[in-house]
């Protein structure tokens, strides 16, 4: 992206922005307007600071860390702090801010939601082809034969696509999980 590579920007735009939006949307208790503002601000600042990204952290991890700071700054400016929900150590991470107007949710529900957010963020980071293949296979329960038709490839090639999609998904999900991007832990020092 730094070199003005259009394809790099497209990748950023099509995969990372949706994943970041989902991350912020969860943390901001599904406040759409605020999410849009925060993500836009985070993305613009991240672009400004691309040259400082050292590549030690996964790019998504870095973006999420920037977004967390942006959220904290927002609440600081608003004169209030996000209410953090404490979860047990075994959980992937603590949950994000929850609007004071909402009653507290059971821990299990939060954990489930958080895990779902990570899964969906990992899907966002995949190519559209892989994302669709996994959804058709596991969410719609389509047989490989049908998936092959939709992908416009043969059954063997469809199996291959599914295998690579699973590998990519696993890599993205584990990276998100390891860096605890959904929670408050520092992404690269855990």
């Amino acid at each position: 992206m730094l070199q003005g590579d259009e394809r790099a920007f497209e990748l950023f735009s099509e995969r990372f922005i949706p994943a970041l939006y989902r991350f912020a949307f969860f943390r901001l208790n599904q406040d759409r307007e605020l999410t849009c503002d925060i993500v836009q601000s985070t993305v613009c600042k991240a672009i400004d600071k691309l040259s400082t990204f050292r590549g030690e952290a996964a790019f998504m991890t870095w973006l999420c860390a920037c977004c967390r700071t942006e959220i904290a700054m927002h609440f600081r400016k608003e004169g209030r702090r996000p209410r953090l929900v404490e979860l047990s150590d075994e959980t992937v991470a603590a949950a994000g801010p929850v609007a004071p107007s909402r009653p507290p949710e059971p821990e299990g529900a939060l954990l489930g939601k958080e895990k779902s957010v990570l899964v969906h963020m990992a899907l966002d980071l995949l190519s559209a082809r892989y994302r669709k293949a996994l959804a058709w296979k596991y969410l719609e329960g389509l047989p490989v034969k049908e998936i092959a038709v939709r992908l416009k490839v043969g059954p063997k090639a469809a199996e291959s696509v599914l295998t690579r999609a699973r590998q990519s998904f696993r890599a993205c999900y584990e990276r998100l999980l390891d860096s605890r991007v959904a929670g408050d832990g520092d992404p690269d020092t855990n």
Partner: protein, 328 residues
């Protein structure tokens, strides 16, 4: 091998089934964000990364030629352009949104430049300069200063704060005043305020104050008040607190991205005068954590609320000490 693959496949299936179909994200929002991102990216990629405003050297401009829309700023340089040299760069300008400022961050200033923060419309303006020597120089609102050279500033009225940096500057800086009093820094942080008298307050290191042929030194936590007749009164002064608030407000933003929490807190300490203490040995381990993001636009104190929660930390201020605690 197949069993392993089957297991992995089952795990992924379970994860996806448990999470359910992802909610559709609002396409209008994504489009808006993408549009802003593309605009910013286009701006960035069309500009060489290392091209900064610092290349703009404003040399020897007559006041009448300067574009100062509402005269919030007066900026003049004396002396012929051929001999003027860059002695400082504008690092930060703090002004009301409505105020028109004739300078911008990154502008270079030549020797002989005069800066006034006495706005014609009363808008408060403060600024921070980075001297060629490395000193951070802050100018409070309603002040006037002349950059006589890279090593000497002349404060006509108002207040100036000097920080030679934790590592020390290339050479000592000298502040002259209309009363003939001269303040020389020896690796330090200090404020000089001219208001009929000359008040020198030292936060760190030491300074010497020369007045009417006599020289006094001042240490951290000391204040020297020099009156118009050269009389000197010495007293104690806090090195942190409300009296130093304006200094915080003019602190150039630290680029926290990629720095350790420890480095960030060192900066906080330097800008606020607070000592830093971790509540409990286990929290000291967080000092090596890396900070991400930006604190642009926030004062050092305000930035604590943005940075510390990201590391699961909180803080309180106790008797001039910033105590780092675990977030509750």
């Amino acid at each position: 091998m197949n069993e392993k693959h089957d297991h992995e496949r089952d795990e992924i299936r379970d994860l996806l089934v448990e999470a359910g179909p992802p909610a559709e994200l609002p396409e209008a929002d994504l489009a808006e964000i993408r549009k802003a991102a593309r605009r910013r990216w286009a701006e960035m990629s069309s500009t060489p990364i290392f091209e900064g405003r610092s290349s703009r050297v404003l040399l020897a401009m007559a006041a009448s030629l300067l574009v100062v829309l509402t005269a919030v700023w007066l900026y003049r340089s004396a002396g012929p352009p051929a001999t003027a040299t860059t002695v400082a760069t504008v690092e930060l300008i703090r002004a009301d949104a409505e105020a028109e400022v004739g300078l911008a961050a990154g502008d270079a200033l030549a020797s002989g430049a005069e800066l006034s923060t006495a706005g014609a419309d009363g808008s408060p303006v403060q600024l921070a300069l980075r001297m060629a020597s490395g000193h951070s120089v802050r100018l409070d609102a309603d002040s006037k200063i002349r950059l006589a050279s890279a090593a000497r500033l002349e404060l006509e009225w108002g207040a100036v704060y000097v920080d030679s940096g934790a590592e020390g500057a290339a050479f000592g800086l000298e502040i002259g005043t209309p009363l003939g009093t001269t303040v020389r820094e020896i690796g330090t942080q200090f404020e000089v305020r001219v208001n009929g008298t000359v008040r020198v307050r030292v936060r760190e290191g030491s300074v010497t104050v020369s007045s009417s042929g006599r020289t006094f030194s001042a240490a951290p936590g000391e204040q020297l008040l020099v009156d118009a007749r050269g009389g000197v009164d010495r007293s104690a002064v806090a090195i942190a607190g409300p009296d130093w608030a304006w200094v915080q407000e003019t602190a150039p933003t630290l680029d926290v991205e990629g720095r350790t929490l420890e480095a960030y807190l060192r900066w906080i300490s330097r800008e606020t005068g607070w000592r830093v203490r971790y509540e409990g040995a286990e929290l000291e381990a967080t000092a090596t954590e890396i900070v991400y993001g930006s604190i642009k636009g926030l004062t050092p104190e305000e930035s604590l609320d943005a940075v510390l929660p990201s590391s699961g930390l909180d803080y309180r201020i106790e008797n001039g000490t910033l105590v780092i605690t675990r977030a509750s």
